[in-house]
Symmetry: C2
Subunit: 213 residues, 2 copies
DNA sequence: CCCAAAATTAAACAAACGTTTAAATTAAAC
DNA sequence: GTTTAATTTAAACGTTTGTTTAATTTTGGG
């Protein structure tokens, strides 16, 4: 078996595990479930990852590396106005959460019920670094008298809370907004632009320096 | 054993289960964990509730009945202005989420990874009825030209998302806001007022009819 | 006091769990 | 082609799981 096939097999197990963990939860998924759906022998999971928990760690580390670089670059960009940065952040995170909603499910789930403190710490550190960059963007806008005084931490919580809430309560909001929840693609086509518009509009009103006068 | 003691025992098991389900998740909690912490015999849980899953249903039904009445009353109140209603809703839900954060954890958890469709339906129905009342409040404010045109569903998602996110990501935001997370009482004393102020401020800017002119 | 119903118990149940083993197969190196 | 290492397999490991059993204790009404 070639190296690429070996990598593919590992990646395949990760992908299957991601799907099952997101659907049924970490504790609700057995290694047998993963092995069966991935069409690999049960023992291969221990062979590749060591344990079910290590498999989860591998999954998190594999998926989480991507975001930080982009946000850091945006934060220190000197040519964009603070308003532009807010818009770009909204666009980026809306796209990201639709592209990675399974992984996002696992993150929220593990954040609350992580079996090991290591995994919880891992997740907190990943999120902290992202939040600190966004904090910079808002604080910069305030210093330039473009944004008004707001509770920065809770403002971030509102943006991410909205995204997380829509993702995690999909069925509920599908029913409320009368969108067909079985068709993933049209759901995304309808909701993603709406989410972007809403968040930008809300942040524009919320952060506007005029509020301070 | 008197009737009140019998009720207390059932309620005691529910309370212990609530704590454990919130801490470790439904699948992460065994009936033996519950029995041990509640100081009752293992078989008593089947005796009282039938099964672990029925115990969860009993817990949800027991805890969820309270909110709806209050919100309905507020929605149809004729003497309050739409702005007053928003403020009251914010105050109510902030208090509620701090008083019932364990139960809230279980609800988000089960919403995403409910083993049985019945439990998921149960939760969706409970939440739907509440959201429909709040929708009325916002739509009424719009009709009266007090609130501007906003995406009502996503506006609600932002309010509940903020609350849920702060609750579910407690450690993260404690670290970010430099609040001691081990002391529940001072955490609440610090965060609850801040949350109320932030949400009211944000909704005031977001819903203001001036945005439309 | 007695007796039927309710409550409680310890023990056992089969099934599912994560993990390990040791043998078999495949791949790569020389 | 032989040998060594890496991979894959089926089977079994000991626990833990949710639930049930059957015996025992407690309860409350007549």
């Amino acid at each position: 078996m070639s190296l690429t096939e070996k990598v593919d097999k590992r990646a395949h197990i990760l992908a299957v595990a991601e799907q099952l963990f997101a659907d049924k939860g970490f504790d609700g998924t057995s290694v047998r479930d993963i092995a069966q759906l991935a069409n690999v022998n049960l023992a291969m999971i221990s062979y590749y990852f060591g344990s079910k928990e290590k498999l989860l760690e591998a999954l998190i580390e594999d998926r989480a590396g991507y975001t930080l670089g982009i946000i850091e670059e945006l934060a220190k960009n000197q040519t964009l106005t603070p308003w532009d940065k807010i818009d770009k952040l909204v666009d980026f995170y809306v796209e990201r959460i639709f592209n990675n909603f399974r992984f996002h499910c696992i993150m929220s789930q593990q954040y609350n019920h992580a079996r090991s403190p290591e995994i919880k710490e891992l997740i907190i550190n990943i999120k902290m670094r992202n939040l600190e960059q966004i904090k910079k963007v808002i604080a910069d806008g305030q210093k330039k008298k473009i944004f008004c005084k707001v509770d920065i931490e809770l403002t971030m919580a509102s943006v991410f809370g909205t995204l997380t809430h829509i993702t995690n309560s999909k069925s509920l909001y599908c029913r409320l907004m009368k969108v067909d929840e079985t068709d993933d693609l049209t759901y995304r086509k309808k909701i993603a632009p709406r989410l972007k518009t809403h968040l930008k509009q809300m942040m524009r009103a919320h952060l506007d320096f005029k509020n301070e006068e």
